[in-house]
């Protein structure tokens, strides 16, 4: 993939702008974002609401395209891909974790985790095996047959993480993953993410909680549609473990 993946960063944003609406009602959410993320990094994106951090995450997640600028992922210029091509990129390289968990209701944890494999065309046995492995990774194997309603918030988020992991993605995008959880569960989730990052997965996380951001190696601060500053090479709270 791409021209020379060893020398290039995994993710490159150059002059990214995003404008919503047209004419006098137009709103420029991003005003020229430049950023590079190396493979294996753990990035926390912070900033007040309206600063453009969610818009950036949507673009990084290939869910949205910038109005102008270049977004390279594995050297691929994502801004020129169509909807289905971006879907294929997501199913191959990306895993998503949302604030609201976004599990399918009335569907078992196992089936939720199997879902991305279904779109990859894996057969039933392979889906089951990989999903059980992913659930085991997040410590929920015994709850495989439970539906989301039967699980706690923390457990639901771990199912969601298992679903994101099951395809062995390069990048895990987490949008306020602890936003709906109490502190104890939040810390558990952060420990889990840190462990996964240690296993080689690049993690991009949006958060507004300083405490959660301290788990990241890199913190990107957004303000008014621009990157305000980037803290790199931090010593992480989890690294004493």
């Amino acid at each position: 993939m791409g021209t020379s993946p060893e020398t290039r960063p995994l993710i490159e944003l150059e002059g990214i702008t995003k404008t919503f609406g047209e004419g006098p009602a137009a709103f420029q959410a991003l005003k020229g974002v430049d950023m590079a993320i190396e493979s294996g990094d753990f990035v926390a994106v912070m900033g007040p609401s309206g600063s453009g951090k969610s818009t950036t995450m949507n673009i990084l997640g290939c869910l949205d395209v910038p109005t102008s600028g270049v977004f390279r992922f594995h050297g691929i210029e994502v801004q020129s891909l169509d909807r289905d091509q971006r879907s294929l990129l997501r199913r191959r390289y990306l895993g998503f974790v949302f604030q609201g968990f976004n599990l399918l209701a009335r569907t078992s944890a196992l089936e939720n985790v199997e879902l991305p494999l279904l779109y990859r065309g894996e057969n039933k046995a392979a889906r089951r095996e990989a999903a059980m492995r992913a659930l085991d990774q997040v410590g929920l194997a015994p709850w495989a047959s439970h539906s989301p309603a039967e699980l706690s918030g923390g457990q639901q988020q771990r199912v969601a993480i298992a679903r994101a992991l099951v395809t062995e993605p390069d990048v895990l995008l987490a949008d306020e993953p602890t936003g709906n959880l109490d502190t104890e569960r939040s810390l558990e989730i952060m420990e889990l993410l840190t462990r996964l990052n240690g296993e080689g997965i690049t993690i991009l996380m949006v958060t507004h909680e300083e405490e959660m951001a301290q788990y990241a190696r890199t913190i990107v601060h957004f303000r008014d549609g621009l990157v305000e500053r980037i803290e790199r090479g931090k010593t992480r709270v989890a690294e004493q473990a």
Binding site: L63, S87, N102, L103, P116
Partner: protein
């Protein structure tokens, strides 16, 4: 790919089961439409078959001629010399035979039975393809002398004779006339007219019935069996000319007789069936259109309800066509289930209605299969727009949807 499709199918069934009542109400239009079509076609086939059966009991290549009033004051009946003239002068006429009948009561050994006595000659039996199963037909001498001999319809034999004994040679009484049984007719079933049982009859020589029952040498009607090598219209034309001449009708005066051509009745029946089919098609079209709109409506509701689910699927990498396929599959499964329910309902309805109106139940695999396929196609037609709408959702908006 099958794993994907199998899973999609499973999901469709699960969604339908989850909203069982809603799914049932939604498909009701299709169920009723399909049931109505199949029931009407099945009953139509039964009615047609039963009418054709009655017509074929009149014999094929047969004209039935009976007098009408026309422009005159009174009906002028045909006589035996009309029959003879037709037999002699109409080319292609193979058998010509007159008939009279009267209702009467048959008595034997203390048992009695309401029936009718029909005066005919052997030529009539041949023209109408009536077989004598046991015994023999009339002799020439019995016909010309008007002897008191009779052929029993099977119903009459069963009604007044001891089972498993031969009635041949037995004496019985019809009204005030006694006669000797010389034969039993083969079973013919319903026919000859509405609610007429052709097996509930006793046949005696024409002369005997004219003399002892109707009291005149009038004929009620006569039949002509013609050679199928001749065009029926040509025979009919020359028959009309001959009869008008014999009945001294002026040019321009209406025919004071009627000729029924069994072949024509068959054609008319075909036309009537065609009209019925067209009517059924219109009714089916309307009810299925209404049903289809119901499907589209509920699928749109379903897409709205499951916007978030669609967002999740898109986010984890579902292609637009995969989301479309999912909802299309659901609509097709829903409609197909409706079609199956309609087929089951039609089976029960047409089976019971057929026995109520006393026509044969003729199961038509073609119309059942066609209805099923049609309901599945309706799923595609009416499910396409909602499915396309689901596939066009923006994943970001869909995920935010409450």
């Amino acid at each position: 790919m099958f794993g994907m499709f199998g899973a999609t199918l499973l999901l469709a069934f699960r969604e339908i089961r989850r909203h069982l009542l809603r799914s049932f109400l939604t498909t009701l239009g299709i169920i009723i439409g399909v049931a109505a079509v199949i029931t009407m076609v099945t009953l139509g086939n039964g009615v047609t078959a039963s009418i054709r059966d009655q017509i074929s009991s009149l014999g094929s290549n047969v004209f039935i001629v009976f007098p009408l009033r026309g422009d005159r004051e009174v009906i002028r009946p045909f006589k035996e010399d009309d029959v003879e003239a037709v037999a002699k002068q109409i080319a292609g006429a193979e058998e010509v035979a007159g008939s009279v009948s009267a209702s009467t009561t048959a008595f034997h050994n203390g048992a009695d039975w309401t029936t009718s006595v029909q005066g005919v000659n052997n030529a009539f039996l041949r023209a109408q393809s009536i077989d004598v199963e046991v015994g023999r037909p009339f002799t020439r001498e019995e016909e010309s002398a008007g002897k008191n001999v009779c052929l029993l319809g099977p119903k009459v034999r069963d009604a007044i004779f001891v089972p498993d004994t031969s009635p041949l040679g037995e004496e019985m009484r019809l009204g005030g006339v006694s006669c000797t049984v010389i034969g039993v007719l083969a079973e013919r079933g319903q026919g000859g007219g509405p609610n007429q049982d052709q097996d509930n009859t006793v046949m005696m020589p024409l002369k005997t019935v004219q003399r002892r029952f109707t009291g005149s040498d009038d004929l009620q009607y006569f039949v002509i069996k013609y050679d199928s090598a001749y065009a029926s219209s040509a025979i009919q034309d020359s028959l009309i000319d001959l009869l008008r001449e014999r009945r001294l009708l002026q040019e321009g005066a209406d025919n004071d007789f009627n000729i029924i051509d069994t072949a024509q009745v068959n054609q008319a029946l075909g036309a009537a069936t065609g009209a019925l089919t067209a009517m059924v098609a219109v009714i089916a079209g309307i009810s299925l259109l209404v049903g289809g709109i119901g499907i589209m409506n509920i699928m749109l509701v379903s897409v709205t309800e499951r916007t978030r689910e669609i967002g999740i699927r898109l986010a984890i990498g579902a292609l637009a066509r995969e989301v479309r396929l999912q909802f299309l599959t659901e609509a097709v499964v829903l409609c197909s289930l409706g079609g199956l329910a309609g087929i089951a309902l039609a089976f029960v309805l047409s089976w019971s209605l057929a026995s109520v109106i006393d026509v044969p139940f003729i199961f038509s695999p073609a119309i059942n299969l066609l209805s099923f396929l049609f309901s599945a196609v309706m799923g595609i037609v009416f499910g396409y727009y909602p499915a396309a709408r689901a596939s066009r959702l923006d994943p970001i908006d869909a995920l935010r949807h409450e």
